[in-house]
């Protein structure tokens, strides 16, 4: 279990991480999601002891990474952004070195190195010099290195960056496998990667944690905010009144009106689908619907919503609406 308490990190006057607190439970795959420069790498570097925090505490199974680094580091395997490999060593030599440095018992070293090589699928390149390996294989060597010493938690910083689509799928499968007997924390700025693998998503923005939840729950938040876009022929006020009287409509907003047609955005609350009700209500009122479209707020939108400033957010939304208005017109 990893506990991060009130973590802050300043680089000079720039604040990379601000008052970050979270707990990582054992046996789950955590995804650290945030745009570039949000403080993901900084946080991971601090958790693994590569960087000292300006403020705050990191406890790994109760051991403080600053006060008790040796015990704490034994419980963590870390793959930084760039795999920390020595290019002039062979894969096998390199893994032997890491195993020795991690204090693996002499009798277990060979067996453990063989085991991690098999797990990461690099047994067939074990005698090759790391310099000549492709990025995907280097990444695997990096993961193999992190697995040595049998740490409870594996921390992977952007493990999919620079891999081709096939390698990404393989890497995803590998991480999923690791997740069965390790706690895994991985970071990414790509949402689909995270939602495909992780049990829990932590969204971080500008050094702050903005959301922690399962991908399903985050998506549900999205569904609750379903938006219906309507274009109706008729008088603006009358249309709005008619729509608002339907059950399940929480709000209706006029976006444009042209040539006797009005466009509306309707917020729907709850699980009820009120499209049918709206259709009949407007049909009764002799106001024909010209276009109707339901928009689910995707995980992507939530991510953008959570990681952008409120002010920026609003202007973005307005721009999007203006564009769509043009298309409809």
């Amino acid at each position: 279990m990893i506990e991060v308490k009130n973590l802050s990190k300043n680089y000079g006057s720039h604040t990379a991480v601000k008052d970050l607190s979270f707990t990582v439970e054992s046996g789950q795959v955590y995804g650290f999601l945030g745009p570039n420069g949000a403080g993901k790498s900084t946080t991971m570097n601090i958790i693994t002891g590569c960087l000292a925090a300006t403020q705050g505490q990191v406890l790994i199974d109760g051991y403080d990474i600053f006060d008790n680094p040796k015990e704490a580091k034994k419980k963590i395997g870390y793959l930084p952004e760039l795999p920390p490999v020595y290019p002039d060593m062979s894969v096998y030599e390199y893994l032997l070195f890491v195993a020795r440095a991690k204090g693996v018992a002499k009798a277990d070293i060979k067996a453990q190195v063989d085991a991690v090589m098999a797990k990461t699928g690099i047994s067939d390149v074990s005698r090759r010099i790391i310099k000549v390996l492709s990025k995907g294989y280097r990444q695997r060597v990096g993961i193999a290195q992190a697995l040595l010493g049998d740490p409870e938690t594996i921390i992977l910083d952007e493990p999919m960056v620079g891999l081709d689509p096939k390698q990404i799928i393989e890497m995803r499968e590998l991480i999923r496998q690791l997740g069965t007997d390790h706690t895994v924390i991985l970071s990414s700025h790509i949402l689909s990667e995270i939602s495909a693998i992780c049990d829990r998503v932590m969204i971080i923005s500008k050094g702050r944690l903005v959301a922690v939840d399962t991908p399903e729950n985050l998506a549900r938040v999205g569904e609750e905010k379903r938006i219906l876009r309507l274009t109706v022929k008729g008088d603006a006020d009358a249309v709005k009144e008619a729509v608002c009287s339907v059950d399940g409509v929480s709000e209706a907003e006029l976006t444009s009106s042209e040539d006797g047609c009005v466009s509306l955005e309707i917020g729907m609350s709850g699980d009820t689908d009120c499209r049918e009700a709206i259709f009949y209500r407007l049909a009764d009122a002799k106001m024909p619907i010209l276009a109707m479209q339901i928009n689910k707020v995707s995980l992507e939108d939530i991510f953008l919503d959570l990681t952008s400033d409120k002010a920026e957010d609003e202007t973005e939304v307005q721009e999007v609406e203006a564009d769509e208005g043009d298309i409809q017109a």
Partner: protein
């Protein structure tokens, strides 16, 4: 620490660095042995050691330039930081690996006096005392080189810095003796030195006030001494340089004195620069 040591040693011999290092030192020691002992028929191997000191300018950078800078460049420093090892263990592992490489030509050199003794009388105690001091001198310079390597990501920069520092310490004493021993000259020389220290502090902390404070703190007592008792400063700069020169210490061993102060001096330099290397690596975590 042993894992780091083994890896370092292996990487020296996997590459070309260790071979060049050993070849250089044996080449120059060989030339001087031939010239003094064989050709000149002098029974003093220590004279060779007294004269090949310049070889450190070439070989120390070869050995030390990549030792830490390359870790930063390859991003393997992250691995080292995340290992359950203390920074001191990492630095000591690396330093001992370099000393092991350095011990190989020294070991070879130990046979020379034995060979020479076949042809004449060799004072073994002085000779081996001098070889020991030569080893310590090299060890001190390697520690300095390692520290300089920890300051940069670029091994060429590290090599040039190390070359410059060894060069300056090699010529330091002869340069200092060019300055007249008068109190005024000493004052000027010390002031320049203090200004350099102050400037260094400014650059290191990026705080001009801090550099200025250090400069003032050292310069004011100096001026006070100059005004109150100028006799104290006479020749003092040379004495200081003579005492801090890594190369100068060797000569008392060559003269047949097993200079304990010299040994303590070498060990202090080693300790200081290993310590500074550890601090330099620790500082990166705090930046």
């Amino acid at each position: 620490m042993r894992a780091i040591y083994r890896r370092e040693l292996k990487s020296y011999f996997n590459g070309i660095a260790a071979y060049i290092f050993i070849a250089f030192i044996l080449l120059f020691v060989g030339i001087y042995t031939w010239s003094y002992n064989l050709n000149g028929k002098l029974p003093f191997f220590e004279y060779v050691l007294a004269n090949v000191g310049f070889v450190f300018m070439l070989i120390v950078p070869i050995l030390t330039m990549r030792v830490i800078s390359e870790e930063k460049k390859q991003r393997t420093d992250k691995l080292l930081y995340s290992l359950p090892l203390s920074t001191t263990q990492i630095v000591m592992g690396k330093y001992l690996a370099m000393l092991t490489v350095f011990a190989i030509p020294i070991g070879v050199m130990c046979f020379y006096p034995l060979i020479l003794s076949r042809f004449g009388y060799i004072e073994f105690v002085t000779t081996y005392g001098s070889i020991f001091a030569f080893f310590l001198q090299g060890a001190a310079l390697i520690a300095i080189g390692m520290f300089l390597s920890s300051l940069t990501e670029n091994q060429i920069v590290a090599a040039v810095l190390t070359f410059a520092v060894v060069l300056v310490s090699y010529f330091m004493y002869s340069l200092a003796s060019l300055i007249s021993a008068s109190a005024t000259m000493s004052l000027i020389a010390f002031s320049v030195l203090i200004a350099a220290i102050g400037g260094g502090a400014w650059l290191a902390t990026k705080k001009p006030m801090f550099g200025l404070c250090i400069f003032g703190l050292l310069e004011i007592p100096l001026l006070a001494i100059f005004v109150i008792k100028p006799a104290l400063l006479e020749g003092s700069f040379q004495t200081l340089i003579k005492n801090i020169s890594v190369f100068n210490r060797l000569y008392s061993f060559i003269d047949g004195v097993f200079d304990l102060v010299g040994i303590v001096f070498f060990l202090s330099v080693i300790f200081l620069f290993v310590f500074l290397t550890v601090q330099s690596l620790e500082k990166r975590r705090w930046s």
